[in-house]
Structures are given as C-alpha cells and as structure tokens.
Amino acid sequence: MSHGIVQLAYLVATVLFIFALHWMNTPATARKAVYAGVVAMAIAIIATWAQPEVVHHGWIILAIIAGFIVGVPLSRVPLTAVPQRTALSHAFGGLAAGLVGTAKYYLWVSEGPENLTVFRMIAIIVEVVLGFLTFTGSLMAAGKLQEVKWIPQRPVTYPFQNVSNLGLLAAALLIGGLLTMHPAAEWAPRLFPVIIALALAFGVLLIIPIGGADMPTVIAILNSYAGLAAVAMGFVLDNKLLITAGALDGSSGLILAIIMCRAMNRSFTNVLFGAFGQTQQAKAGGDQKEYKSETIEGGAQVLEQANLVVIVPGYGMAVAQAQHKVRELYDQLKKRGVTVKFAIHPVAGRMPGHMNVLLAEADIPYTDLVEMDEINPEMPQADVALVVGANDVVNPAARSDKGSPIYGMPIIDADKARTVFAIKRSKNPGFAGIDNELYFSERTWMLFGDAKNVVGELVKQLAGAAGGH
C-alpha cells in the first residue's frame, strides 16, 4: 500500500475516533460510538498490516489470536469487577508502549544510530518511563481493587516516602538525560535497562501509599498516563494517528481525574502524595456515640408512606452485590406510587461512573439516576434518604468539621431528608476510617446488616404487606 493511502486510512481512523467520543455524549447515541471505534481500529490495523515492510505474518496472527483469547473473557467480568479490569487494561497499554519503545531503541542502536536524534531519544525515554510505570502502577491498582492478599489495602507509608520516590524519578530522568546525549555510546545499551527498572519500581511505589477511596482518581490518572505513553510512541514512530488517539485518551483521563479531584475537594498532588487514610486512624474510636437502630418492619412502613425516596448508593452496594435487590425495592415502591430517585456522587464506588453502570445493569432507567448537584436542592423535600453502602459521600463533617480529613468535599445532603435510613455492615468506621456524623443525627436510623440482605428483607416486607390487604 502506498504511503498516501496509508495516511488517508489513518486520517479516516482519526476522524472516526473523534466521532466515537462525541457520540458518548448521551446514552441514546453511545452504541454508535462503539461501532465507529471498531471500524476505525480495523482500518488502522489493515492499513498498517498491508505496508510493504511487514514481511513476517505468523507472529502477528498468533499475537492477535492470543489477544482475542484473553480479551473476550476479560470483557465478560461481572460489573462490580470493572474497576479492576480497567486498571488491568491500563497495565496492558503501558506494557505495549514500554516494549515498543524499548524495541525501537535497541533496533536503532544496532541498525542506524543516526535515527537516535535528541528529540527521538527524549520521546523514547518518555514513552518507556510512562509505559513501564503505568504497567506496574496499574497492576498494583488492579491488585488493590481485586483485594489480592499480598497487596496491602490500607495505604502504606514510611518515612521520607515522597523524597525517596521523587529521588527515584530524578535518577531515572538523569540517566535519561545521559542516554539522550550519548544514545549510541558503548555503555548506553547496558544503561537503558536501568531506566526500565526504575520506572517499574516507581510505578509500584507510587500506588502503595494510595487507599481504596482514592482509586477513582488514580485510575483516571493512570488512564491519562497510558494515553500519553501512546502519544510518545507516536512521536518516536512519526505516526500522527498514534498521537491523536493517544491525546484523546490522555485528555479523557485528565478530565476524569479533575472531576474526581473536585468531587473530593482535593488536588492531584494531595491524592498522589497525601497518603489519605493514614492520619485519621488515630482519631477514630474516640468518644463512643450511640447509634439508633430501626427494624425492617419499621423501615418498610416509613418507606411505604413516603412520597419521595432518595437512594444513595456507594461502594458497599457493589461489594454486597445488592443492586438487583435495590431494583426490586425500587419496583415495590414505584408500585405504591412513591417517587424513587438515585443520588449519584461522582466518587461513589471505585471508578468514575461506577454506580451508574451497576444500577443500569439492574435495569433501573438512567433517567432516575440523578447527579449530586441536581439532587441536593431536592433533598429537603425527600421523605426518606436510604443510604446503601455509601459513607464518606454523605458525611456532614465535610461541611462542618474543619478538622475532618474530608472537610470541604462536596457531599450528597442526605442529612437534610426528613428521615435517613443507613444500611451498614458493622459498627466500624468506613474505608477512610472516619466516623460518620450522619449516623448519629437525630433523624437517622441504622439498619445493620449486609446491604443485600437488608434490602431483600425490606422488599419481602413490602411485598408481604401488599399481599395482606
């Protein structure tokens, strides 16, 4: 295929990718986005494969088949495992970028050092560092999300952590600078693996101090890194399709990360280097306050008589796989003419939009999923706020307690509802280890137990009452 045709194909693919993201605007057009993306990718692959320099086809076919064998099962994971899958795919993206950069470097060192201009070397080093740190960082994030045993869930901190991490990065950049000046020196091919090793180590150390509640931001940042690694690959290979597609991915990750940070009232540096969740452990377990608990029967009665019920889902709902029971509750209440809405906090769950997907899976129409900013003005009119597995995102301490680590974080005003029911697994504080003032409010009654069981019992109670009439 001639150069012109290949470039034309790449241009068409670029346009299709942009349309794909544009169609993600609304659920009505979103499925078109997938088709556009698939067509664009197929065009790009065929155009590349048909180039005259591609002479060996066996390994390409094998690698593509292997990609299908692993990729299809990965796309069938339960939706509660989507954050892990996403982190894992960032790891794959980072690995691919790192390997291609490394391969290109060794190729040019042996067969054409004149290709290793200063600019190319910088691009290669950026690609390799970003690629490999995204690889191990995302593997760590996936491990934390999957709750793999030997990866600590709680943030791990040690003295001089940030200093030593940044020292590591500085060392990698220093070696990178050295290689950029003398890419073809006799010692250079032996120094190159050191950069790879430092990037791999940096990725692990970057994620170790980050707790589960910060995962939405971290996943978004890793998404951005994976995109930027693809951009750097585009610079190395002089390929504008890689640059555009990588830039689209990079900006998407960046925007999501900004949205997540705003939703927690925190900065990037604070998320990455703040070791959230460490300082509050000492505070928890201070003065013991009393919970008021409510029975299933009582809870069902109040729900039944409400006009407007707002359900606030959180990560606990995902853990308990309670979304289908929540749907049954939604059905029971709707049948009685109760208006039911879901209040979705941007950082509820472990990745951006996590709750929306789970509730959509349970067949709840997306028109009843309401964003935080839109539901908050309605909260005082709500008769019942039912908190299912959410914790920090409804903690009024974020508004009032300047000493609280979550102070300033925008929250869903569950406490303004006339009655609050909070379902909670145990009397322990939540993931971040912070006491939730909401639970001790005079309007709040606790329903202790596994979210799935409690909601299931409420449904049974409501269904039984309906049958008894």
Binding site: N25, G37, I219
Partner: protein
C-alpha cells in the same frame, strides 16, 4: 532528514488533538464515565499500529518478540475494551419495557 520540521508538525497535532479531546469529553454524560473509560482504553490501544510493524518487519528476533508481546497486549485491550463498552451501553435504558415489572 528535516527533524525539526517533523517535530513541530507532530507537536501541533498533539496540542490540537488534546484540545479536541477536552472539548469532546467535557460533554460526555456523567452517566457514561465508566464506559467512556473502557472505550478510551480500546482507542488508546492504537499502539497496535506500532506493534504490528515491530513484530512483522525484518528485524532481529529479540526485537520482534518484544513487538509480539506488545501486539498481544494491545489486541487484548482492543477486544476487551470494545466488547465491554458495548455490553455496558446495552444496559442503559431510558425507561422500562412494559411487562418487565418485577423479576428479570
């Protein structure tokens, strides 16, 4: 080779594409942030283009092995990324089908 020229044209492409990305993605519905992430995953697996060349060209064996692993990783992302995005998007419905009240 006119490297500096290439560099600047690539820089222009990068900066302009980033602006398009920001403009387009800001308008994506918050409902769809999870599928957005999985579709951008698949799109950024465009690294497949670089991997195909490294795997298939007449290069030394070790280099082609790295290319093949990169190609496998990218292909996995393409396949699983698009499939899971479609699977999630199918679930978003504006209203319930009549008669689907109660159990699935």
């Amino acid at each position: 080779m006119n490297q500096p020229l290439d560099f600047w044209s690539m820089m222009f492409v990068f900066v302009l594409a980033s602006f398009i990305g920001v403009g387009v993605i800001r308008r994506v519905s918050r409902l769809l942030h999870t599928p957005l992430m999985s579709i951008t995953n698949a799109i950024s697996a465009i690294a497949v283009v670089g991997s195909i060349i490294v795997t298939g060209a007449d290069y030394p064996r070790e280099i082609r092995i790295m290319g093949a692993i990169a190609l496998f990783a990218s292909m996995t992302n393409i396949v699983s990324g698009f499939l899971i995005t479609d699977r999630m998007l199918k679930m978003f419905k504006s209203e319930r089908k009549p008669g689907s009240d109660g159990r699935p």
